[in-house]
Amino acid sequence: MLAYTVRRLLVSIPVLIASTFVVFLVVVNAGDPVANFAVSRQPAPSKAAVAAFARHIHADQPVAERYWNWITGVLHGDFGPSVQPNLDIGHDLFTRFRVTVTLVAAAMIIALLLAVLFGVFSAIRQYSVADYVITFFGFLFLAMPVFWFAVLLKQAGIWYNQQTGSQFLGTIGEKSPYLEVDTTWNQFTDHVGHLVLPTITLALVSFASWTRYTRASMLEVLGSDYVRLARAKGLRRGRVMTRHALRTALIPLTTVVALDIGIILGGAVVTETIFQWHGMGEMLVQAVTTIDVYRTMAWLLLSAVIVIGLNLIADLLYAVLDPRIRYD
């Protein structure tokens, strides 16, 4: 398995280089940040200031040279200059990564747990009222645009706060700027209060699709010969479900979850904007709207690494879930 992992990682390197170069070309040609700087300040900056800005962001260099300097700089931990003054892109990226990971991880864990729970239940109770209810809500959540659902949830959160006379649910940011009583417990509840709404927003869409996959996969496994044999041999229903059926049914879900990481990160862009979480989603929006080449590249590079890494982990998990799979 080690050799397989190393091989996969080595294959990822040229993929990363090729994809970053293509994206670099696209981003560099997306607009002119120097011209933007020249008209974005009042009074308009002097010609010396505009020239200094162009030199600072390397806009005076040929594209190939800029890419080479960037990629070699990244290997040394330097992500290049931003159009934002004094912004260390590397520090910004990893600070925001922590924020997004908190949100995405919480959302994924909740979505996964609920999806398995409701998917299995739905399969076991096929065509029952509960199955129809779960199916209905699954399709409802699937059909709802994230931005719209997030706005509704914010309204619901405010209503909740008004009913309880509290400000437990936060609608902007990861935490309050200050606490009247600054205790560890209050800090914890403040964090939780700010996490609830964006997490639900991000989790429910994934939950909806993953429930459907789990249900379908579970139904297929439950109808298979080896499950019937296990039951015929007298194994208890619970043991058959958990040890034999569920384990096999999780294999396709693992693939789907790994592939959905990119979609969830995309959903985080919208969710972070609406809930004003200063994570990678907001970083991408800012970088694109200000034509910040190196900041956009940093985001794409990290996202690509995450997607490639998680797909690799998913492949490795197959071997854990299915003993027949071995990597040489």
Binding site: A30, G31, D32, P33, A35, N36, A38, V39, S40, R41, Q42, P43, A44, P45, S46, A48, A49, A51, A52, R55, H56, P85, V151, L152, L153, Q155, A156, I158, W159, Y160, N161, Q162, Q163, T164, G165, S166, Q167, F168, L169, G170, T171, I172, G173, S176, P177, Y178, L179, E180, V181, W185, N186, Q187, T189, T273, I274, Q276, H278, E282, T289, I291
Partner: protein, 606 residues
């Protein structure tokens, strides 16, 4: 802001009943049940003539935490720097640093007597300004504010003593890049007397906008801090080297003002990058108004559409977004919130690109285009939907609230929507195909022109559509072409438009803006306008020390420019301030300092 642990328990039962349907119903209801009449008594009088500087006034009581929104992060703390010259930085830095003249809501400037007891022009030849520094004025580390701070300011901003970084500097950090050298480059000397508490400024060339110096949104930074960190002699800014000044310049750009001595009613206690700034009253503040708030927060909310919900959820107590119909309606539905829609310093306009052969060559064509446009029609279909007080703007330099304002546009018939008159201009100039397919007198087709606006801006899209319809009646085809969110600069500097609609920010000191935007070759003269008489008048105005004469010269130039039909002013972009009614003394200030211009007075209503 506060996390109540008991609320968690109480809320579990309610959470069970929380459904999307309820949320949806709630979103229409305005929140919290019951009917809520819009409450705008506090700020509602701000738009009344003469009330801009005094509305929403009231006595305050001690305590309270007020959270105000910033729409951008602060990356650069030196607002004098061309990179740090952002509205948000101007708002935040004016809380902790002093300036001589402070821009007011009515676009006038007021002497900051906490800093200087007087600022007097004692001679016109050579122009000499004498500032008497308040004897009590000092930085909060105990160092008196004195002439050295003024000398340091002048030398770092004059473009000579601390020159821009050389091309060989790959980091572009070895030099000073002031946002403007205007005025400072005309100063011959800055000297101190009376133990440094009197500052005498002598200028080489007259500078009409001398009240702009050492303030107007660009405050003083502590010279002694720069001197200490750069190894210069403390109190001797006059002899600092360029390298030493550069060190100070870079330090103030990178360092939040919590790390060095400040001199404001509040001091910056904490800056969390990209999230918020926390200010607390500075016990060393000597000024007339002692701050009453316990805490002041500037919270970064980069998406304006999220501000109403934050206000409704009491996560912020005051917001200052760009108004739109939906946003204003949302605020109206929030109980106990007062709001005002003001006429800002930013003004919307149509520009013609004179690099286009037909537009550049034929004045009658330009006049016809501007005459066919109905500004009233534009306003009623855009900003008039939420701002009934909006009026057409008739000047390119002054706003109606300013005493020097003269309407130089209406008399020309431009913006009237008079299609018959517009056709007459074309017919008289021997254009053919008027009303069908317009051709120049030498038989070339006119257009099709593009009308460009920033993508996603619904108001500007509508403005282009109205223009398209108006010009169709003259026989000119117009295609509407949006500009990418970050491409406005590329389009303007690359002259990639025929007609464009965007906005400029006016100033309490319009001379410098006029020089940039209207004079031949000026930095903001994107359309390539050139009129030697206008150049002469504007340049004279900038050097005229009599404010009345200077304004007259600018208005003469403006009248000429209006006749040349280069830029058609539409209206002042509305501004929007909304604050909870339990707070007082917050007012709309559309200048570069924003509503925090009087931050010491903000507080809980008594």
């Amino acid at each position: 802001m506060r996390a109540h642990s008991s609320a968690l328990t109480r809320g579990l039962a309610l959470a069970a009943g929380l459904t999307l349907a309820l949320a949806a119903c709630n979103s229409n209801g305005g929140g919290g049940g019951g009917s809520h009449k819009p409450s705008s008594s506090g700020l509602s009088s701000c738009s009344t003539q003469g009330k801009a500087n005094t509305c929403n006034a009231g006595a305050t009581k001690a305590g309270g935490s007020f959270t105000y929104t910033l729409e951008k992060n602060i990356q650069q703390w030196l607002v004098q720097d061309s990179n740090g010259n952002t509205f948000e930085n101007g708002e935040a830095i004016s809380v902790v640093l002093p300036q001589v003249y402070v821009p007011q809501p009515d676009f006038s400037v007021q002497l900051n007597t906490d800093l200087v007891t007087s600022a007097t022009q004692t001679s016109t030849s050579p122009q000499t300004i004498v500032y008497k520094i308040n004897p009590k004025a000092s930085w909060n580390d105990g160092t008196p504010i004195n002439a050295d701070d003024f000398i340091y300011y002048w030398r770092t901003n004059n473009g000579k003593d601390c020159p821009p970084p050389p091309a060989s500097d790959s980091t572009q950090t070895k030099g000073c890049l002031p946002q403007s050298t205007a005025g400072y480059d005309r100063i011959k000397s800055v000297t101190g007397s009376d133990g440094g508490k009197t500052v005498t400024v002598v200028l080489n060339k007259p500078f009409a906008d001398w009240k702009q110096l050492f303030g107007a949104g660009y405050p003083l930074y502590p010279a002694h801090v720069a001197e200490k960190l750069s190894g210069a002699k403390v109190g001797d800014a006059a002899h600092m080297t360029g390298t030493q000044m550069t060190q100070g310049w870079q330090y103030f750009g990178k360092t939040p003002p919590s790390k060095y001595a400040t001199a404001g009613p509040y001091k910056l206690q904490d800056w969390t990058d990209n999230d918020h700034a926390t200010f607390v009253p500075d016990p060393k503040w000597w000024g007339a108004h002692k701050p009453s708030l316990q805490r002041l927060i500037f919270k970064v909310i980069t998406d304006a559409t999220q501000e109403p919900t934050a206000l409704r959820n009491n996560e912020v107590q005051g917001i200052y977004p760009q108004p739109e119909v939906d946003l204003v309606n949302q605020i109206k539905a929030i109980p106990n919130v007062t709001y005002t829609i003001g006429a800002g310093l930013t003004w919307e306009h149509f520009d013609l690109n004179l690099h286009n052969p037909a537009l550049g060559k034929y004045l009658p064509l330009r006049k016809a285009i501007f005459t066919a446009i109905s500004i009233k029609d534009i306003m009623s279909k855009t900003v008039g939907q939420f701002d009934p007080n909006v009026k057409p703007l008739g000047n390119h330099n002054y706003m109606p609230v300013q005493s020097s304002y003269q309407d130089v546009v209406t008399g020309t018939g431009q913006g009237s929507g008079d299609v018959a008159k517009a056709k007459q201009y074309l017919t008289d100039a021997k254009f053919t195909g008027v009303g069908t397919a317009l051709k120049t007198p030498d038989g070339k087709a006119v257009g099709p022109f593009n009308c460009r606006y920033t993508t996603g801006n619904q108001i500007r899209q509508s403005e282009c559509q109205i223009l398209q319809s108006a010009l169709a009646s003259l026989g000119i085809k117009v295609t509407i072409k949006p500009i990418g969110a970050a491409d406005l600069g590329t389009v303007l500097t690359g002259h990639q438009y025929d007609i464009i609609v965007f906005a400029w920010v006016g100033s309490p000191f319009p001379g410098a803006n006029a020089q940039q935007n209207w004079v031949t070759g000026g930095g903001g003269n994107y359309g390539g306008y050139s009129n030697k008489e206008v150049d002469k008048l504007v340049n004279e105005a900038v050097g005229e020390l009599d404010p009345t004469k200077a304004a007259s010269l600018l208005n003469q130039a403006d009248a000429l420019m209006a006749k040349d039909a280069y830029v058609l002013p539409l209206y002042q972009k509305p501004t929007f301030l909304a604050v909870q009614t339990r707070w007082v003394n917050m007012r709309d200030n559309a200048t570069n300092v924003g509503p925090p211009y009087n931050i010491a007075e903000w507080g809980l209503k008594k």
